[in-house]
Assembly symmetry: C2
Homo-oligomer: 450 residues x 2
């Protein structure tokens, strides 16, 4: 029999997270305060526990994973690495295609990997409540899943358009005991400000972040938890790439090219950072972030200091951005609809270590359907971006005859996204090309620094 899945034992769950900062040729650009000066750890203490702040600024290569976190991860980790025999055959490619499947977590995506660590450290430091935002619901679900088990109350500000379009993600969070509110709400200054401007606002990730941060900053027993973008979040996701390296070694493989979907950057960092030291040392490996053409942060955005949220409550971060007041069009890959990107991913892209590709919506669903018919798994629209890019690479290999080893992250299943698949089949999806003028205008509204 052909081996389909490469599995690891629970004892092979990584014992340490890998911190890419230790191997970066240049140190990360510091976050800045409202005065334009680098902020110290204290400025973050109102919303994060000290252990996470230390991880955020650490330059240590290996950071130990607490036993309790590793124990919790056994709920679904190690995740399987699949060899896509059927997809290869269907495409008629000489390439070998591997995918790491993170959809087996109870929340259905890779997001719980960091939720566990964040809940753990907050609990350790006496916090009782966590606030967060969610778009498509994958992150909110993950924090709900985990927070409850650490005895933390979780409040999720869910982007209103998703709250209404994806009621079952809301139900899932409630099943795990979280409170879910459609954002913008009238519970925060940020929400009231937005509603005053537009009472019918459908919300955005930037607005929901503003609400969650504001609430956390105003209560001593409450911290804020973020599902992507920040250094410590990407750090926690490196279990993905570390496991994958081990799994590929077991079958004597090493990737020529890796694809991951890119919204805030947690998939990219999680899978690719553990391969970065090789890349920096000159190894011939391509690391490719795949983003939606409708939200082309890396491929068409500005590399500049910007806020992480709409209202300007977060520190300024140097990153690729479409402007913090960006209102994304209603594409379905909700998890990728973010104006900015991880500062680490942005810097490595700027410095030429990472590549980026933008793919259009209809082509991503087309790839998702092909994948489902070949491999069985119905993927989340976010994940379909990586599938599209991996399939295109495999088809190029078919033309050139190259037997490349292609690896991608299948970050989650699409069980809560079937309405999008329905629209694809009904021909109701459109490709949206982000207008040049909007990208230009965003530059004008970026915060002035220095």
């Amino acid at each position: 029999m052909q081996q389909t899945k490469i599995l690891l034992d629970e004892s092979e769950i990584p014992t340490h997270w890998y911190n890419v900062v230790a191997d970066m040729p240049n140190p990360p650009a510091p976050p800045l305060g409202p005065d334009g000066k680098p902020i110290g750890p204290d400025a973050l203490a109102a919303i994060f526990p000290m252990a996470l702040i230390e991880q955020e600024v650490s330059a240590e290569r290996w950071i130990p994973i607490p036993d309790e976190v590793r124990q919790f991860l056994t709920m679904w980790r190690p995740s399987p690495l699949f060899r896509a025999h059927r997809l290869e055959q269907m495409l008629g490619t000489p390439a070998k295609i591997f995918y790491k499947y993170e959809g087996i977590s109870p929340a259905g995506s890779h997001k719980p990997n960091t939720a566990v660590a964040q809940a753990y450290y907050n609990k350790q430091e006496g916090i009782k409540r966590l606030t967060t935002e969610t778009g498509a619901g994958q992150w909110g679900s993950s924090l709900a899943l985990v927070g409850n088990k650490f005895g933390l109350d979780v409040r999720v500000y869910m982007v209103k358009v998703s709250y209404e379009q994806k009621p079952f993600r809301r139900s899932m969070m409630q099943t795990w005991g979280a409170e879910v509110l459609p954002s913008p709400t009238n519970l925060t200054n940020s929400g009231r400000h937005i509603l005053a401007q537009d009472p019918d606002s459908q919300g955005s990730l930037g607005i929901a972040i503003s609400e969650a941060v504001e609430e956390a900053a105003s209560r001593d027993d409450t911290n804020y938890s973020l599902g992507s973008v920040l250094n410590h979040v990407l750090l926690h996701q490196t279990v993905i790439g570390l496991e994958t390296r081990k799994q590929l070694e077991k079958v004597g493989e090493y990737p020529d090219v890796i694809f991951a979907p890119c919204g805030g950057g947690s998939n990219v960092g999680g899978m690719m950072f553990p391969f970065f030291a090789d890349k920096a040392a000159g190894k011939d490996i391509r690391l490719v972030a795949v983003e939606p053409a409708s939200c082309p942060t890396l491929t068409r955005g500005h590399y500049a200091y910007d806020f992480g949220d709409t209202e300007g409550l977060t520190p300024l971060m140097l990153m690729y951005t479409l402007g913090h007041d960006f209102m994304p069009p209603g594409i379905h890959a909700g998890g990728l609809r973010y104006h900015g990107d991880s500062p680490l991913v942005s810097q490595l892209y700027k410095e030429g270590y990472l590549e980026a590709q933008a793919v259009s919506q209809i082509a991503t669903f087309e790839a998702g359907v092909t994948f489902a018919r070949a491999e069985g798994i119905v993927a989340a629209p976010e994940s379909c971006h990586a599938i599209r890019a991996a399939m295109d690479e495999a088809l190029r290999c078919k033309e050139t005859g190259e037997a490349k080893t292609i690896l991608f992250t299948l970050s989650g299943h699409g069980h809560f996204d079937m309405a999008s698949y329905d629209k694809y089949f009904a021909g109701e999806l459109e490709d949206y090309d982000y207008p040049e003028q909007a990208i230009h205008d965003a530059l004008e509204r970026l915060p002035k620094v220095g």
Copy 2:
């Protein structure tokens, strides 16, 4: 670290299915034709391939699994066996609780285990199309997932009330390339007959089976495929129990009691039959089928010859039944809403080897929520029946201090059932006690035999 999951390698997928008939103290009662006489294999040849008919009547203990079927099963098998450490802790029980999780298949339940085998044998014998019925959608999804990959066209008659309440199961089947029709349709005599009596009929499994069987019987290129009840279906599901035995051996355990949800019997047979020979030999193990109080086939039904479908197109089978014209109340465990039960399960229950429990709807959802908060996984309502019974057993152990080993089948996830969880949280679910009069009346309408 505590071990959470007991995994097997793909090479440990069973090489043979286990046929319980070989170890049954009495031979299975034969199916009867319209004339009341036992039917031969030929009578089934219009809708089943010969290989499956042979399995249906086989008394061989071990039946080899074709390589191509085993290869296909690697898509998700072997499935993990979990030790429910967190649930045990939450309940404060001295019992050890294990669950076999079948929700990791792409279709989200154990059903693809038999779909693979059925598609394989039909393909082998030159069949081009399969018809089937589905209630909650788990079986239809499974045949859609598999049929497509064997190059078979699949048409699913989906009970109309589910078609309308669960559009995303329909989308999933379409993503895999199946055609889905709300039943009753006007494409078959059976459907037209029902619609003539009640133009607003919401359908039932029995009606959908009539439609699918009728179509398959009328076309040479088309066969019928069933997701439960029949001997060969339960045979294919024994991979569940065979894997579980091996997994428990790895940690030095043997169950004192096994629970599985019971609708048509494929979970019960799949998990329990591989333990039956031990039971028959006097081993102290309890095998308990758990059914909904609203559809109490085993606990309150009649042991009698009855049809498998509403219109009376199938052979007569000796089984527990509520009457083939049974119209189940609209409870949410769609997969358990069937008037009859597997003849093998029925006979072993009648002979005292299996036990049965009926549990009410609200209590099952309550158990499902507790389970989700402890173990993470949001279970299908069908699976919640087994969770309820296992939790009750664990709580009894808490009272008595017995450290029993409890095993149950977690047959599927509830990602497409969140509307039911919503109703539970909103207090909109009701417990339905099947009326004694209806049970009595059904007896009057059973077909007269001999």
